[in-house]
Symmetry: C2
Amino acid sequence: MSFDPSTLKYNDAGLIPAIAQDATSGEVLMMAWMNADAVAKTLATGQVTYWSRSRQSFWIKGETSGHRQELVDFSIDCDRDCLLVRVNQTGAACHTGRRTCFYTDVVDGVEIVTQAPLAG
Amino acid sequence: MSFDPSTLKYNDAGLIPAIAQDATSGEVLMMAWMNADAVAKTLATGQVTYWSRSRQSFWIKGETSGHRQELVDFSIDCDRDCLLVRVNQTGAACHTGRRTCFYTDVVDGVEIVTQAPLAG
């Protein structure tokens, strides 16, 4: 079946959550949001492109930082209301300089930071 | 730092997205939503518990189907507005009987179903 981004289910703001996973390590890197045009751009360019809710503009991941996400696989969930993109991540996915945004674990009721920012 | 579920950032409906990942294979299984009480229940019981938006009630994953998610790791992202739970998944995570909800890939502009329902 030919894929049409308009057939996905978007929230009231016209957005769908997209989970980015490292295609090599399997690490979950981040979750951000796409609108239908960002979905289309991601597929057309192979560069993962989100919609920035704070800036209200396209956010080509890594355009400024160089920490790009090259698309490897693009998956839709059963309800068509969530996306999974497997990527080749250059450098840090997180704006804090860490490889992934999920660097805080809750262990026995206490928050523990599990990763340091990447060197350089 | 002691963890307090009320310090997470919830959307206007009081919910936060939670990504479930197979702790062994690294496969991303599903994404669903938790409220603060579901977060607390998940941590207290070790059984991943979501908030069902359709039923407006707690959803102890697998309570009916037996396809439970035993919590292994609980992580918070940098913005505190998304969760990652690594789990031991019994059987299918997806209501279609597939191991994961992300069984549809977009390849060269065409949707391809990549997984069959589990046997049995």
